[in-house]
């Protein structure tokens, strides 16, 4: 714990040159689509913060939400009468492989797992993203406005994830969520030890997994120390400006792997950890204490219900499925009440995630299933609470909750109008707005994007 508190001061005391360089690399070129001020009236609004407003209005202007609630609203703007409809924040999927495992899933598109070394914090998912993945358009029709694209789970440390606005562009940079912190994907358990164990390489066991992570963190601590020492030397040299004879300090060699890990230790990069078993999640939390970093979210967490209290106590989100189970040993104890039980403690952060190009299209249905199972088990979860699982809680895990994930004045106008209560198999996203711009309209083909790949396919087939 002592180590943790010392390290947590580091970002305040020193700024690493390497870290500075990273902040500017591969910058976002995203700019919102043109929009006109739009007023949505007579809607049932789930704010994403736990509130439900009936027969309420929402005003968007200049890409931002400017008003949510009841009361006088301006008359001179484009108005959508949403009587009988529901309005929610744009949905956010914290776990997607769109772009890195794009459709069609041919070998040439298999860009999500750099399985040549069990620790590859140096790879960045964004460098694998194919912006023409048709999956982005399907997710949009399901109300997804932001998503984190992660590397796969073949490695212990899979690399950096990136948060995107769900808009089509020619480059991933034009989709990159401005100001969103990076994520780093890590994986527990069976996948890494299988991939490398099958090659008679370390890790082939769970203890091998742990030893390998720990060696990485030790190297990252050393890297921070080296840069800290260097910064001190530079500072000293400046102060003692008269001492010309003193040699110019030699900068440590830049290391892409350690740069990412150092970013985690400094709290600038958020850890998203694929982990199924309860005991393993607890071991990982001990490791985070050992090295003074934070696990932002456990992903998949099929056994998260066994440690729901601990997750809440440690302020760790659980990004979960409604009902997947049984595909491997560590997924054998899956139950349909997992999300509801993780949601139960005070201070919890339950998230519905997809990890699937199909699931991302209907996160609302996954949440509805979890709500239903919770209710049957005595946890009555109203829609205004459940919507947090796929909006504000997800935004929190991505470090973007001050910008999106809820409907409040000043937030990005990422908004979905549903044709009915979204917690239903029959609900469909009618209109989707990103930064106040209409980017999807179910009733208007002019507002339905088509990727380059799909354009012109199956000529002559009447659809």
């Amino acid at each position: 714990m002592r180590l943790k508190s010392i390290l947590s001061l580091l970002p305040l005391l020193f700024s690493l040159p390497a870290g500075t360089a990273l902040a500017e690399a591969y910058p976002s070129t995203y700019s919102p689509q043109p929009s006109t001020a739009t007023l949505i009236t007579h809607a049932t609004i789930l704010t994403g913060t736990g509130e439900r407003l009936d027969d309420a209005s929402l005003l968007m202007a200049d890409g931002k939400i400017t008003f949510v609630g009841k009361g006088d609203v301006p008359q001179d703007v484009t108005t959508i009468d949403a009587s009988g409809k529901w309005v929610t924040p744009g949905l956010i999927d914290v776990h997607s492989h769109l772009g890195v495992y794009a459709s069609p899933g041919v070998k040439a598109h298999s860009d999500g797992n750099e399985m040549t070394n069990p620790a590859t914090p140096n790879v960045w998912a964004e460098h694998s993203i194919w912006p023409q993945d048709p999956g982005f358009s399907r997710a949009l029709a399901g109300g997804i406005t932001s998503l984190q694209v992660l590397p796969g789970s073949g490695n212990l440390i899979g690399g950096r994830g990136v948060t995107l606005k769900n808009v089509y562009g020619n480059t991933y940079q034009s989709m990159k969520f401005p100001g969103a912190p990076y994520g780093m994907k890590m994986a527990c358990g069976e996948n890494p030890k299988r991939v490398y164990g099958d090659r008679k390489q370390m890790p082939s066991t769970r203890m091998g997994n742990m030893a390998t992570y720990r060696a990485q963190w030790i190297a990252a601590q050393r890297y921070i120390d080296d840069w800290t020492a260097y910064d001190k030397q530079v500072a000293n040299r400046k102060t003692n400006s008269g001492d010309d004879a003193k040699a110019e300090p030699k900068a440590p060699k830049r290391d892409l792997k350690l740069e990412t890990l150092a970013g985690v230790l400094k709290g600038e990069i958020l850890v998203h950890m694929h982990c199924y078993r309860a005991d393993e999640m607890m071991t990982i939390l001990d490791m985070a204490d050992e090295f003074g970093y934070k696990v932002t979210a456990f992903h998949h967490g099929v056994e998260a219900y066994k440690i729901a209290d601990k997750l809440a106590e440690n302020n760790v989100c659980g990004a979960l499925w409604a009902d997947w189970w049984g595909f491997k040993m560590e997924a054998y104890d899956g139950i349909q009440e997992n999300i509801a039980i993780v949601d139960r403690p005070e201070g919890s952060c339950a998230i519905v995630h997809s990890d699937s190009s199909e699931g991302i299209q209907r996160l609302n249905q996954e949440a509805a299933k979890a709500m239903t199972r919770g209710k049957l088990a005595g946890m009555d979860i109203p829609p205004e609470r459940a919507i947090r699982w796929l909006t504000s809680n997800a935004a929190k895990a991505l470090g973007i909750d001050d910008m999106t994930g809820s409907l409040a004045a000043g937030k990005m106008a990422d908004v979905v109008i549903w044709n009915s209560n979204p917690f239903s198999v029959y609900a469909q996203a009618g209109q989707v707005f990103i930064d106040g711009a209409l980017v999807y309209d179910r009733d208007n083909p002019d507002f339905q994007p088509v990727s380059d790949f799909e354009l012109g396919q199956l000529q002559g087939i009447s659809k």
Binding site: G105, E190, D309, F327, I335, I341, Q361, T372
Partner: protein, 416 residues
């Protein structure tokens, strides 16, 4: 602890009911018969000796009958779990528990997965308590065009609860196998040769694809109503299946069928059913460029008989949600239920056992809390072969072990 105790009592009660209940009256249900009688409001169903004895309004209630008041809730036939490995898998990644696929790199249509069936799998309680009463065991073979044979099975826990006839699986399309020269044309060349071998023993010394057992198996499907299921997606390949099946006297079913809507008329004219996943809407490969969410609706409108599959074995319960989405994209609601009940039962020759609610039939019924295709509804009562099944599984027991907060003893002592 109090909550736990209540749960324990509830599950004990159900268990007792399951063991004893042989005579059941369901009163006042909205009965989706999935037959000519259509949907009957406020209707009673009387079950005894494993059969549906009466369906009607205001039936007299005999003594010592277990009565459930449905209060207008939907009663449907038990649902079809799809083409799965339920009973021939336990954990997908644990090789020793998986028996649905033959590893030999040979053409072995005689491979029959029913020999591996284990009714004691944890997947059956998990699946049936969600309203699913039967599945079709699928067969696959690595590298071969012939997947092997499967058969329908009921989730009543019996060791040989098979219904209907065996079916044969054949794989064609982009997964051009290592044993087909990696070409679709090679697939048809070899399939034709196999059919000729089944018809007439090759001369001594001539290249053979099949064993004696394989020839015998294959010839059994010729000019016989037993179905041959072709796993195929691309429209042009589906048309090849229709030609091939016709020329060799096979009775085909299309499984997958992502582009089936493009040849819906041909399928309807040939009276060939399609088993599909209604959620498939991405071009997962170049055979499925035409994937779309209204595939089911378009096929149904064209008169093609459809059934649903594709949720896998462990999460087969997702079939309901899949059907609900098909309805959301234009399939009539009743057709959505049919694709999970009467249609699969009819397609695979087990209509006598499953798929409809009718007097004299085996009682496979589900009473739902609401619309059976809605994700917020659940199965409240499930009856298989006239017996109420316990509404519990390994998963509900894990739930009940972990629901209590701060138990005094380690949870290993909580045994719901």
């Amino acid at each position: 602890m109090k909550a736990l105790k209540t749960l324990l009592i509830a599950s004990l009660t159900l268990f007792t009911l399951a063991a004893q209940a042989q005579t059941i009256m369901i009163r006042g249900a909205t009965v989706h018969t999935m037959g000519k009688a259509g949907t009957l409001e406020n209707t009673d169903v009387f079950i005894t000796a494993g059969k549906i004895q009466k369906v009607g309004q205001n039936l007299p209630v005999p003594q010592d009958v277990l009565v459930f008041n449905a209060d207008g809730k939907p009663l449907t036939p038990g649902f079809f779990a799809g083409i799965t490995a339920i009973g021939i898998t336990e954990v997908s990644a644990v090789q020793g528990t998986n028996d649905s696929s033959l590893g030999l790199q040979e053409m072995r249509p005689e491979f029959n997965v029913t020999l591996a069936y284990n009714p004691n799998t944890s997947l059956i309680p998990v699946t049936r308590m969600e309203g699913f009463t039967f599945t079709l065991l699928g067969a696959g073979s690595k590298g071969s065009l012939f997947g092997g044979q499967g058969r329908m099975v009921e989730f009543n826990g019996g060791y040989s609860s098979f219904i209907g006839s065996t079916v044969l699986f054949i794989n064609v399309g982009q997964d051009a196998s290592s044993l087909s020269g990696s070409s679709r044309a090679g697939q048809w060349m070899l399939l034709n040769q196999a059919m000729l071998e089944a018809d007439k023993l090759p001369a001594a010394g001539e290249t053979r694809l099949l064993t004696r057992a394989g020839r015998s198996t294959l010839s059994g499907y010729v000019k016989h109503p037993m179905k041959t299921i072709f796993n195929v997606d691309r429209a042009s390949d589906i048309l090849q299946v229709l030609r091939f099946a016709k020329s060799h006297g096979l009775s085909p079913v299309i499984s997958g069928g992502a582009e089936a809507w493009m040849v819906a008329k041909e399928l309807a004219d040939a009276n060939v059913p399609v088993v599909l996943n209604p959620l498939a809407n991405l071009p997962g490969n170049f055979d499925t460029l035409g994937s779309r969410l209204d595939n089911a609706a378009l096929l149904d409108a064209a008169g093609v008989t459809i059934a649903f599959s594709g949720a896998g074995s462990h999460n087969a319960r997702k079939q309901r949600q899949m059907a609900g989405n098909a309805v959301s994209y234009g399939l009539p609601h009743e057709a959505g239920i049919a694709a999970l009940t009467s249609n699969p039962a009819h397609i695979f020759g087990s209509a006598i056992d499953q798929g409809t609610i009718r007097r004299g039939k085996s009682a496979n019924l589900v009473l739902w809390s609401g619309d059976p295709l809605e994700v917020t509804s659940v199965a409240e009562r499930v009856i298989i072969n006239g017996k109420l099944i316990p509404m519990e599984s390994r998963q509900t027991k894990l739930r009940d072990r972990y629901l209590p907060q701060n138990p005094a003893m380690p949870r290993a002592y909580i045994k719901p």
